[in-house]
């Protein structure tokens, strides 16, 4: 994470993230005021580098932080900060070494993903949707967070977020979204 926050230096303690409100992300590092807050540029680049999601995917969305490192995408713009319960879709957990995308973001925004997409067969897909981990030695791509996908109704569709480590695909489908689809 870059640390290019000059605005806060002159005013004593730098401002901190406030978990009770949404703050719009700074566009670039030059505009960063709250230390450690990711920038819009970094978020767009992360999706492009990790999954090949085209940057223009996000042209209609603003990005916000509420809670430590929880990044949300919103389809319009409103005043910042804004103290509300929800603002668009939570897409990402940042402020940690390996940023973690959300299941719902991957389903919505990774249809055109080209990198780190693991296409599962029927049995593997059902295992993943149940929330179970599985051996998957055939994957020879990157370790880390991947998009688990399968073919349905004539096209490849993202199912959710997998964590690939040591030949194993771990399912991160949240408890409330797991289904037995065998």
């Amino acid at each position: 994470m870059t640390d290019a926050d000059s605005a806060a230096d002159s005013a004593g303690d730098p401002p901190e993230n406030d978990g009770q409100q949404f703050d719009r992300l700074p566009t670039t590092a030059d505009e960063r005021v709250v230390p450690g807050r990711p920038t819009r540029e970094e978020v767009v680049q992360w999706w492009e580098q990790r999954f090949g999601v085209p940057p223009e995917t996000w042209d209609g969305h603003t990005f916000w932080e509420k809670g430590n490192g929880k990044i949300w995408a919103f389809a319009a713009d409103v005043v910042s900060p804004i103290a509300v319960e929800g603002l668009g879709l939570r897409i990402l957990r940042a402020r940690q070494e390996h940023w973690k995308p959300s299941t719902n973001a991957v389903q919505r925004f990774c249809r055109d993903a080209t990198e780190n997409v693991v296409v599962l067969d029927d049995e593997e897909a059902a295992c993943f949707a149940r929330g179970d981990d599985q051996e998957l030695p055939r994957w020879d791509g990157d370790w880390g967070y991947v998009v688990a996908a399968h073919e349905i109704a004539g096209d490849i569709e993202p199912i959710g977020v997998g964590l690939y480590l040591h030949g194993e695909l771990r399912s991160t489908v949240p408890k409330g979204r797991r289904e037995d689809l065998e």
């Binding site: 919103f74 389809a75 005043v79 668009g88 719902n104």
Partner: protein, 312 residues
């Protein structure tokens, strides 16, 4: 069921009404076109052998042969959402457009809210409010599962809804101080859900009807105040009681800042007009433009839906 006898004078063919109220409701899903086209969702259901029948009046509202949409791939992908058939009406009456600023005053758990987002093509600002924090988490869960990104979730008493969080009375160019359209799908005595919840009437009392009618008037009044002149407000309930329907409309019409507007129910969906006399009371004649939905007409739950235009 006996509670419903009080509506015998309002309903043609009351025996058919009563018989329909005693049948369970079919399981119905709506296709979420933000994530899949109607054709693709239906193709996926076909491939899984899930039998369904499209409703006469909407190709994206599907009656399933068996109960429960939860365990299928198209549901897992957020292509489908379980929604009672008749509850698809108010969003169609409101007819929100992409880019508008729209309020859902009592939004949780969100079947109508998510339908509004779909009609808005996920563009513009949709404010989903509910005073119950527990129910708000269901709203958020449903909206996220369906991939909606234009929803702002608020937790206020709708009767006193404040734009303060939205920069009201500041000079911020991004402030919001009024809505283009509002849906008041009001808390109610839920008589019309008897087919889904056979015990829906167990706790029915006139005192409850009167107290909930007070809340309904308060929410509808605030929705009319908070909507721009020329904007639309839709009022709906899932109950038959005129005290909670036409009487609530009569109350806001009497205050003079809105008028009833005609709205045609979808072709193939049969409704009855609002009533202008009930239990010794008479209501503004324009409430006839509202729609009463009786369970035997379309084999659905019971419902009430009215469209208003804000005039001042």
């Amino acid at each position: 069921m006996q509670r419903l006898e009080r509506y015998a004078s309002l309903v043609d063919d009351f025996d058919a009404f009563r018989a329909a109220c005693e049948r369970p409701l079919p399981s119905v899903v709506r296709v979420n076109t933000l994530k899949a086209s109607i054709e693709r969702a239906r193709e996926a259901l076909d491939a899984e052998g899930v039998a369904y029948e499209a409703t006469d009046w909407h190709p994206g509202v599907l009656r399933l042969d068996e109960r429960g949409p939860g365990t299928s791939w198209p549901y897992f992908h957020g292509w489908l959402h379980g929604q009672e058939e008749v509850s698809a009406l108010p969003a169609l009456a409101l007819d929100p457009q992409p880019g508008e600023v729209v309020w859902d005053a009592a939004a949780a758990p969100g079947s109508k809210t998510t339908q509004l987002a779909d009609l808005m093509e996920d563009e513009g600002v949709l404010v989903g409010n509910d005073n119950n924090l527990g129910r708000l988490s269901a709203l958020r869960h449903n909206a996220e599962r369906l991939g909606i990104t234009n929803l702002v979730v608020t937790n206020q008493d709708a009767r006193n809804f404040s734009f303060k969080p939205f920069g009201d009375r500041t000079d911020d160019a991004k402030r919001i101080e009024a809505f283009d359209k509002a849906l008041v799908d009001a808390p109610c005595s839920c008589e019309g859900t008897i087919r889904k919840n056979p015990d829906a009437l167990d706790r029915w009392s006139m005192t409850h009807v009167e107290s909930v009618a007070g809340i309904q008037k308060g929410i509808l009044r605030r929705a009319i105040q908070a909507t721009k002149p020329g904007g639309t407000v839709v009022y709906s309930t899932c109950t038959f009681a005129p005290e909670e329907n036409e009487a609530v409309l009569d109350h806001v019409l009497d205050e003079g800042d809105c008028e009833m507007r005609e709205w045609d129910a979808p072709e193939g969906f049969e409704t009855d007009p609002g009533v202008t006399e009930w239990d010794g009371e008479t209501y503004d004649p324009s409430v006839e433009l509202a729609h009463r939905v009786y369970p035997h007409r379309n084999d659905t739950g019971g419902f009430f839906c009215a469209k208003l235009e804000v005039t001042a």
